[in-house]
């Protein structure tokens, strides 16, 4: 396991497990492909036959609504057969191991697995153990990676800002537990934005973030100064009061995105959120629904981006 399992010996992307290690050109290629799919999703007949006859298994070991749904829509718009499994409630609770579950589904001639799991590295483990013709897409593993979310985020940024060079992007919130943040950081640094900032209290920051090429801010007003893009992260309920934070109220006071704090950013800054939002905890409703918010377009672009990823991987078979 010393080689990146998502890239084959010819340098082709065979799985999507993490943004880390994917070259800039490949990322841009995915974004370009996604752009062509945006028009498909706007047509009256929203289907293309690229994955006709292919079986896509949505393998969700952890509950999810949005990601699950958008993957399902994306696969259906590519004409794939979609099989949804909420594994958390069946095999795993009967003691079957992750790899046994996957082996059984592989025997049903799956072509692609979309995997969500609570453990970092679960998608890597599956990808390292499936037959070579099966592709694995990581739909979120523990605190490790959520690559399609990061791809739709950079798609959104590119849509509104055109170029990545020269941009200042701030990611605010629970970086420590966030797979979204890690994938966004890799994507943004690979694409060469001029500055990636993270803003959080020390209890929500991993120890060696600066090694990932970001600037760390504890103070939100300072961190937001002159940024072009503000990405807010969801704060999980169970982390709002305890050993990491004293209360949701105090968190909102220091790190909630209000119009006053947003005023530190550039006037044309866009506000993003991977959802689902906690209004009044990490973001004020007037910002979430305000003119700078691009949170709903993110969801729409998410379908096109997932179509792009699926069609590119299927094209490598």
């Amino acid at each position: 396991m010393n080689r990146d399992p998502q890239i084959d010996s010819n340098g082709k992307l065979v799985h999507l497990l993490s943004i880390e290690g994917i070259p800039r050109d490949t990322l841009i290629g995915i974004l370009d492909t996604a752009r062509s799919f945006v028009s498909v999703t706007e047509r009256e007949i929203k289907k293309v036959p690229l994955l006709r006859g292919k079986s896509v298994f949505n393998l969700f070991f952890e509950p999810s609504t949005r990601t699950h749904t958008t993957f399902e829509i994306a696969a259906k718009r590519l004409s794939a057969d979609v099989i949804n499994l909420n594994v958390g409630s069946s095999s795993q609770s009967k003691g079957e191991t992750l790899l046994d579950t996957v082996a059984n589904l592989s025997a049903m001639h799956a072509d692609m697995f979309v995997v969500r799991h609570s453990q970092s590295g679960a998608a890597n483990l599956i990808a390292s153990n499936v037959a070579p013709n099966i592709h694995v897409i990581n739909a979120g593993d523990g605190s490790h990676a959520h690559p399609t979310q990061a791809l739709l985020d950079i798609f959104t940024i590119r849509h509104y800002k055109k170029e990545f060079a020269g941009l200042r992007v701030a990611i605010v919130g629970d970086i420590l537990h966030s797979r979204v943040a890690r994938s966004q950081i890799h994507a943004l640094t690979t694409l060469g934005v001029s500055e990636v900032r993270v803003i959080a209290p020390a209890t929500l920051l991993p120890s060696h973030l600066s090694k990932m090429g970001v600037q760390v801010f504890r103070n939100m007003a300072e961190g937001l100064r002159d940024v072009d893009v503000v990405i807010m992260l969801r704060l999980q309920n169970e982390r709002m009061n305890g050993e990491l934070l004293p209360s949701a109220q105090e968190y909102f006071k220091n790190y909630g995105l209000t119009p006053e704090k947003l005023a530190n950013a550039r006037p044309d800054a866009i506000v993003m959120h991977p959802g689902p939002m906690n209004r009044g905890v990490e973001i004020d409703s007037s910002v979430a629904d305000g003119r700078q918010s691009v949170i709903l377009p993110q969801v729409t672009f998410g379908i096109a981006v997932r179509m792009a990823v699926m069609s590119i991987l299927a094209g490598q078979s």
Partner: protein, 424 residues
Amino acid sequence: MTNIRIKGGRLVDPANGLDVRKDVYISQAEVAAIGDAPADFHVDRTVDASGLIVCPGLVDVAARLREPGHEYRATLESEAVAAVAGGITSLACPPDTDPPLDEPGLVEMLKYRARSLNLVQVYPVGALTQGLEGRKLTEMSELADAGCVAFSQGDAPLPDARVLLRTMQYAATIGYPVWLRPQDPSLASGGVAHDGEVATRLGLRTIPVVAETAAVSTILLLVRETGARVHLCRLSSADAIDMVRQAKSLGLNVSCDVSANHVHLCEMDIAYFDSNCHLIPPLRSQRDRDAIRAGLADGTIDAICSDHTPLDDDDKQLPFAEAQPGATGLELLLPLTLKWANEAGVSLVQAIGCLTSAPARLLGLSVGRLDVGARADLCIFDPALRWQVDSSRLRSQGHNTPFSGLELEGKALYTIVGGHIVYE
């Protein structure tokens, strides 16, 4: 009993400061002579050791044999065979079996089973607290009479500093050492990887260095308070090694060991979630690994052990955090130590000392040395034999190694226990 002549080898015996080309004669389970044959010595078997190193049988201070309780992972027999194939003739096994080694009967049974195999000599380390629960003392005197050489919690936590103090006082009373793997359980809680660059990148829960140093600090203060003899197991960080170096210079009665894994690997080896690199303690930074190598070279670290932990595939074929920690290691201890010695420019005598005389001293045993008239436990190895680690071909029932595919130099060719050639 056969009389054996080991001919033409390079004899390396760190306990006696020997590195000479001399023959060894074995008779009646003992070393009969070194150099010239004793009078009337009738040779039954000659072992040609030219080009080979002849040294005391290796002593491993930490090897899990998985009995009782985990026989599906390994058995005493499979692991004893692996041990002698690795040149190991004596080993200490931690008490973290199921049930733990907290009853004299369990210890006697283990000793008896090991003796009947007639391979490696097994020295159990008794449980420090009942059920390793960290609350009540075990019957240490009874356990010592049954054959325990030291007392330990294995990898189980001992969160109560007062209980820790009492165990040290009690063990000191009966004259036995306490072996502790220093880790503050609350600071390490839920962690599976070093709090560094790799865990940050992979989103793994962490065990910071301070979990180790906070525990070392408490232990050293309690050693000063009680005068107990304490051995620190499996140090992993530069800071902890510095603390031990300082404690030793102040004359404190402490010793420490590291696993062979940590001499060579660091957090980077986890790469893409390689669960074979999920170890206890976690693999730390390159700086920490460099400090381990420096600590071995300057003698701060007394011994290198295998920390042998055989696991089956199902234990490892899981997401990193869910995989059982540990690596198989009996057959790799010698070549990994030789690799370090080569790379660090450390003499063979010093390197072999970390595997023989030093661990024997920690166990309080007269093994790990070649004295005329003493029990003949020997390892004869080819220091130049190159071989590639193939996990499926290891004799241990556990094939879980982070070194699979690595090319190593040095392999035991003969292992002699109590005058018998038990491996060749």
